[in-house]
């Protein structure tokens, strides 16, 4: 094991590591724009320079460690070079932080304050570039803010494999551009470049000018978009920054979604569908319990359902593959003995939607098929002859396949015509309103926490199921 000394500290390291990796592992801060742990080394920003004893300045990100290597991260020469590098990087940068979405989480801002702090020493005009260049329906590029670190380019080559982005022209007129005839719409992982862009050059159209990031906070969650179950951070308004007068719906809607780094599931990435979580969960809700289309109180609805279940001869339950482990377990415990059960696909792969691919996406568009099938088996979600009651939990079931005269109990979160036709309808909370776990297709269990309180009139499935069990049926 090579011995390496950084800032006088003797450190443990493995052969093959770079100075940057060793420093990072020991919480020694070295600034880096172009280096990213999940991408190849580009070594172009030059801000990571450290002083190697006896050799002068060298790049921390591209310097393999060797026995006896002594590195200093905070000498006069290092500080001076960092300062100059930041002077260079802001030379033609518009410094329009006031209207930039990245402000508050921008590496250029952070490093400027940490390592430069001085106004530009230039008196010459800046080089101008495209300010609002479309990279497709999701992302716009501000070339003036781009520091040409090539992270986005390397991402489309090395991670997503779409090869959409490149750099054209040269010198201080270099521009990140899509390949001819291509756009980032070709890349189902494109929005990751927004996160890894160290500055505010790559901007999400959906999030553009929607909020300053310091008004937001995150809640750890799991994407329900497919069987991968990527861990995500859901960004929403901080309680202390609640809007009082205008656009108050923003207090309880998703501002944006970013990956929550997780080596066991998704690494540092998610796909674009995960970014669009709001489109999945912020649909018109079903908020009122109903009996035969009449709005009733929750108690009455549950009582009617309990009676229907108790009275049925051959009841069938279609279990949701969007249920959490806890909900599925509760169903198993309290209702499974009363029903014949089958797992239902709540969401199916749409035409034009990618299926299994090389990175994250799965063809199974449900987050918890694994746990549901483990508990309820492989029986197809169909209504057998002789069924006299069907309990449908969640979405995605074709009600036309239920023979006339068979009663239904529907438990769901979203507005749908079937709700009013059901014998009983029970409105449920959605996964951003409750806590739980999903088990992904590889068996990895991830937790999600509530981001918003549920509407007052809906119930959590986990508490509903015990109440539906016919008295004595489970004992």
């Amino acid at each position: 094991m090579p011995g390496i000394v950084i800032d006088g500290r003797e450190l443990e390291a493995e052969g093959g590591q770079t100075v940057m990796q060793v420093a990072l592992a020991h919480d020694i801060p070295i600034p880096a724009f172009c280096w990213h742990p999940a991408l190849s080394i580009a070594g172009n920003c030059r801000v990571c320079m450290v002083e190697v004893e006896g050799r002068g300045l060298a790049l921390a990100c591209n310097l393999p460690i060797y026995d006896g290597l002594k590195v200093h991260t905070d000498t006069e020469a290092v500080r001076n070079q960092r300062k100059l590098t930041l002077q260079f990087l802001t030379l033609n940068h518009p410094v329009d932080c006031g209207i930039c979405d990245k402000a508050g989480e921008c590496l250029l801002q952070d490093y400027h304050y940490a390592h430069n702090g001085s106004p530009s020493t230039s008196i010459d005009p800046k080089v101008h570039a495209t300010k609002h260049y479309s990279l497709g329906s999701r992302i716009v590029l501000d070339n003036e803010r781009c520091i040409l670190c090539s992270r986005c380019v390397r991402f489309t080559r090395e991670v997503s494999g779409s090869n959409v982005l490149g750099i054209k022209h040269r010198g201080d007129t270099s521009l990140v551009r899509p390949a001819e005839g291509r756009s980032l719409d070709d890349d189902p992982y494109s929005d990751n470049v927004i996160d890894i862009c160290p500055v505010g050059a790559l901007l999400s159209r959906a999030f553009l000018h929607q909020s300053r990031v310091w008004y937001l906070t995150t809640t750890p969650s799991v994407c329900p978009g497919c069987a991968r179950g990527c861990t995500i951070d859901v960004w929403h308004r901080k309680p202390e920054w609640r809007l009082q007068a205008v656009a108050t719906h923003r207090n309880h809607t998703i501002a944006r979604v970013t990956p929550h780094e997780n080596p066991a599931v998704n690494g540092p990435w998610i796909c674009n569908k995960g970014r669009d979580l709001a489109a999945l969960v912020e649909r018109p809700r079903a908020l009122e319990p109903m009996v035969k289309g009449e709005v009733v109180a929750m108690d009455q609805a549950l009582e009617a359902a309990r009676q229907a279940i108790a009275g049925a001869q051959r009841p069938l339950a279609l279990v949701s593959s969007w249920g959490s482990n806890e909900e599925l377990d509760a169903f198993k415990e309290h209702l499974a003995p009363r029903f014949s059960c089958a797992v239902k696909e709540d969401h199916r792969q749409q035409p034009n939607e990618p299926g299994d691919d090389h990175l994250l996406l799965r063809a199974d568009k449900n987050p918890n098929t694994t746990r549901a099938r483990a508990l309820f088996g492989e029986t197809p979600a169909a209504v057998p002859e002789g069924t006299d009651l069907v309990l449908v939990w969640g979405e995605g079931f074709d009600f036309d396949t239920i023979p006339d005269g068979v009663a239904t109990i529907v438990l769901g979160a979203f507005d749908a015509p079937e709700n009013g036709l059901a014998a009983v309808f029970v409105p449920l909370s959605i996964h951003t309103e409750r806590a739980g776990h999903f088990t992904n297709f590889e068996g990895v269990v991830s937790a999600f926490a509530p981001c918003f309180p549920p509407p007052a009139t809906v119930a959590d499935a986990e508490t509903v199921f015990p109440q539906l069990a016919p008295q004595g049926a489970t004992s």
Partner: protein, 439 residues
């Protein structure tokens, strides 16, 4: 006469570049000798013993580079000739390509044998038209005559040479970015480590040599390292092709033994300065090498026939470098502010834009000097230029950032007063002259 000739040792005629003429000069006999009587490591040893330093600009010992490759390791290896001669003021490789392309081909075949390189490339700049046509014709001749391809000269040695035309970027002359250009990627210079002899073209061990360096190999192997060492000076053996341009009566390519007196080359061999003006300064090895004031080098007037000796060490002591051998002569009366402006325009335009200090610094320096030339300079601009230049020193991916800084600091160090004058009076002390005044 400038001493022993290693490359320019025949009379140039309309046909001297052909295979027939080359064979008449004894061509391809060295290759035969190598293939039939030498081991790969013997050739490399001869190059090491000759002490030849790279002729492309960095003057790195060529033998040491070759020793970086183990011909027996079973991996693919590549030998690449850098014929992208793009350094302003440099046109000496062009002479070889135009007048003796077979010297390069024979040397490359020898090198390929020594380095166990099955495939070799010649990367030639796109603007070189006649050199390319002659080189391409020579490659065809060599294949037809069995000096390239399979079963060369009746042995089981096989090697191929591909000629690859560049598209006109200065940075492609940088060895590692040239490899990217061949691979078909954007020609960005690469960070070291890894060295190219570890991972170069297509991630395989690769040697990139300048055309002149490579072309000298067959002479060295033929005459022996001792004979090579007997030419030139002790520290810098051999000869160099110098392309002399600027304010001289007879610009052109000259082969000089290293250690040749600088004054004699310029005032006698090159015919001196039009109008017999004194020399103001010389850029010795392409614009990336710092300018040397003629007085400092002892070569100012036609009477100064000696001065600094042209070898790698002596020119380095004079504060510059022999670089690529592109010598630009500047007569008394030339405006150094405008000269720097032209040089910085070039660097600004040619910076590949990959790394921060060079991408931003070259443009910044260009804009500053442009402003000075326009009469809007500020006294603090000079310090600004120094700061930017120093921030590029040793901090960039390739040598271009350093070079732009060295070139700028070279001129500022010696001709600062011209800048002060220009800034103060808002005009050039020398009427903005760039052409040879009075010629």
């Amino acid at each position: 006469m400038t001493g022993t000739k290693v490359l320019m040792n025949f009379e140039v005629t309309d046909t001297s570049h052909t295979l027939d003429a080359y064979l008449e000069r004894g061509g391809y006999q060295t290759l035969e000798k190598v293939l039939k009587s030498m081991k790969p490591e013997d050739v490399t040893q001869a190059i090491v013993d000759s002490g030849i330093q790279g002729r492309g600009g960095a003057a790195f010992p060529a033998g040491r580079k070759w020793q970086g490759i183990n011909p027996y390791d079973g991996q693919p290896h590549f030998l690449v000739a850098n014929a992208d001669e793009g350094e302003p003021g440099t046109f000496k490789d062009r002479w070889v390509l135009e007048h003796s392309p077979h010297t390069l081909l024979e040397s490359m075949a020898i090198g390929a044998y020594s380095l166990a390189a099955r495939h070799n490339f010649i990367y030639i700049r796109g603007e070189y038209d006649r050199p390319w046509r002659r080189l391409a014709a020579a490659v065809e001749e060599a294949y037809a005559a069995g000096y390239l391809g399979e079963g060369i000269l009746g042995t089981d040695f096989a090697t191929d040479i591909f000629v690859f035309r560049g598209a006109g970027s200065y940075v492609c002359g940088e060895a590692s970015s040239l490899l990217g250009s061949i691979e078909g990627t954007r020609a960005y210079p690469r960070n070291r480590p890894p060295r190219m002899t570890v991972s170069g073209l297509f991630q395989s061990p690769t040697v990139v040599n300048n055309v002149e360096t490579l072309s000298t190999i067959s002479w060295i192997v033929n005459h022996g390292a001792e004979a090579f060492r007997a030419t030139g000076s002790d520290a810098s053996p051999g000869t160099r092709l110098l392309s002399v341009s600027g304010h001289v009566r007879r610009p052109g390519v000259y082969e000089v033994e290293l250690g040749y007196p600088w004054g004699r080359l310029l005032h006698q061999d090159c015919g001196g300065i039009p109008g017999d003006r004194p020399i103001k300064a010389v850029i010795p090895g392409g614009i990336s090498t710092p300018v040397v004031p003629a007085a400092l080098a002892g070569i100012r007037t036609p009477d100064d026939l000696d001065g600094v000796l042209l070898d790698h060490d002596a020119v380095r002591e004079a504060g510059s470098s022999m670089g690529s051998g592109g010598m630009i002569v500047i007569a008394e009366g030339t405006c150094m502010v405008r000269l720097l402006h032209i040089m910085l325009r070039f660097y600004h335009q040619e910076s590949c834009g990959q790394c921060t200090p060079c991408r931003e610094g070259t443009g910044w320096m260009h804009r500053i000097v442009e402003r000075i030339v326009a009469g809007d300079g500020r006294p603090e601009d000079i310090e600004r230029l120094y700061t930017i230049s120093r921030a590029n020193d040793g901090t960039t991916i390739c040598g271009m950032g350093d070079a732009a800084g060295f070139a700028t600091m070279g001129i500022l160090d010696h001709f600062r007063d011209e800048f002060t004058y220009y800034i103060e009076h808002k005009r050039s002390r020398f009427e903005g002259n760039i052409e040879c005044p009075g010629s």
